[in-house]
Symmetry: C2
Subunit: 343 residues, 2 copies
């Protein structure tokens, strides 16, 4: 599928979805829309992902099949400044794919325009309508289940599962990501946005995803939020208990010592935090924190090494920066012996 | 308000909502509908709540303003055998109030009939449509906030908050319950069913409730689920972090050693479980488990005393059976000194 990705004024640093699609999906990205960087190219910023021109708006994008909304503001609203691009996309015959709380299919103008031009509006964050409570059975799947968890939102839990998947596949393992948020769903084409599921069914939705993918060798379940986050811990708990993982990978951003957007709250000691995850998992799946991922983007090499050493020593398990360094040791740490031996 | 309460084949043991309304609300209950007990009276079963006749169906109920659905099957569906009673209620000009996942307002027959007879259908479990993510500010309210938590669902968390409220009011305190489930909402006439809120907003909904009621002396927030429950921990986490309580009261049913409906899962050691709640609360509100409530209904007096001693010694705080024994020591344990001194 040929896609354009909307990321106005946020590319690349604050455009997690856009960057995820560029890096991990099979889509052919024909353009990134960012009016603050028009004329630049993706590879000016991200040398290791597929390249594409950055354009002012949809009118300047090459022919494509769909426009992806590649940024998600806090709260998940639709920014009115994006409206002209969505309008042009529909008029050009492109589907529109978004992962916002505010639904494209609730927008009267877009619904009418989409009908006129025979294109589809996909709200990937909208969950199926036949979800139920968890049965407590995700632990019965054959696959080895690994969940990324973290000390905060936006700590690399989504990046982690795709990097682990790709590394496992390179070793010949049958590995899959279980996507639980809009970016993962946009990248893989399946999944459920757990944060959009009603609380009672959030663990059940996670269980359904794990069971659907349960015949792979290993599943990397995309984590969300943080288990002691002031706003999103409920989502994290539902993933942890609904997905019944065997192994946890704890993600952190080097230097972040307060919860993003909630600066009144300190991020606890990382070793303590990992133990909290293990205590929470203990009565249900008994998962342990077997590895850590650290985002060291803002540090130079020497600082990054120091931060990685400190983080690894707090957690007492192998850690790495999955973007900057080898992920092999972390993959080894989360795989059971029978899957490690295949290498 | 004069109400009839539907509780077919479940009264009183499996009719938590019906019994809660009889015991704690200001409504005048004119009849309980239970076809398996028609001709009996409420006080034959529950001597300490308001009395009412138990009748075969709505046609036999005295005049009233509303029919409350007072039972909630697992899954929250509408039982078709209730349909004739709801139909008769509407035809008699009664509003219908339900807390089911299945909405009255999604039932075409009821919607049409209600319009014809000018009555209202209230789905109390349906959350407001303007909820947002938590801001992390519930801890700023003036009120002292107490949350009931537990080792499982149906451990007395709802009963606990109403008993604590009533005991606090007897001491002259300005106390209120913050209802987070259908029964509490039916009893008090306000609240949000947190389990029905989308995961991302569940902490935010809790925060809104606490802030709305924040000018009381003390708030007793109705807990839900359990923090290590295989299906409902997400709801519990949202209450714990969204509500930012000062104090926790841990509820358990004597003799229950496996999670109800999920017998593959043992309930962990109670002292360990209380510590898990405290660890989860620590980075956000720092709440501690200051008291415990134990449902000893199935035990004789001597067994109950033994169970209470054992539970108190595991938790290391005052415990009581709030239905059978005095709740005063537990109230003292959760109140701050300035509110205790008012007594």
């Amino acid at each position: 599928m040929r896609v354009a990705i909307l990321a106005h004024e946020k590319f690349p640093g604050d455009a997690k979805t856009a960057v995820g699609v560029l890096r991990y999906s099979d889509h052919d990205v024909v353009a990134v829309l960012d009016r603050s960087r028009a004329g630049e190219r993706v590879q000016d910023h991200l040398p290791d992902v597929q390249d594409a021109p950055i354009v002012e708006g949809m009118a300047d994008a090459p022919a494509c099949d769909a426009l992806l909304i590649g940024i998600a503001p806090i709260g998940g609203g639709f920014e009115e400044s994006w409206r002209p691009d969505v309008r042009v996309a529909i008029e050009r015959g492109c589907d529109v794919i978004a992962g916002l709380h505010a639904l494209l299919t609730d927008d009267e103008e877009f619904v009418e325009l989409a009908a006129d031009h025979d294109v589809e509006l996909h709200d990937v964050r909208e969950p199926p309508d036949d979800l139920t409570v968890a049965a407590g059975t995700a632990g019965d799947v054959d696959a080895h289940v690994v969940l990324t968890v973290g000390t905060d939102c936006s700590t690399g839990k989504m990046t982690g599962v795709f990097e682990l998947r790709d590394a496992a596949r390179e070793r010949g393992l049958d590995a899959a990501v279980v996507p639980t948020g809009q970016t993962g769903i946009m990248i893989t084409g399946w999944g459920i946005a757990i944060d959009r599921v009603i609380s009672d069914f959030a663990a059940g939705a996670t269980e359904r995803l794990v069971e659907q993918a349960g015949d792979h060798d290993v599943l990397f379940v995309e984590g969300q939020g943080a288990i002691a986050h002031p706003a999103y811990s409920g989502v994290t708990a539902a993933l942890l208990h609904g997905g019944q993982p065997d192994s946890l990978v704890c993600c952190h951003v080097a230097g972040r010592d307060r919860v993003g957007g909630y600066e009144a709250f300190e991020i606890p000691d990382h070793g303590w935090y990992a133990s909290l995850y293990e205590s929470m998992a203990d009565p249900i799946s008994g998962a342990t924190v077997d590895a850590g991922l650290l985002n060291t983007r803002t540090l130079n090499r020497s600082e990054a090494n120091t931060a990685l050493d400190a983080y690894g020593s707090k957690l007492g398990v192998p850690v790495t920066d999955p973007v900057r360094d080898e992920i092999g040791p972390v993959l080894d740490a989360v795989l059971p012996e029978n899957l490690r031996e295949r290498n």
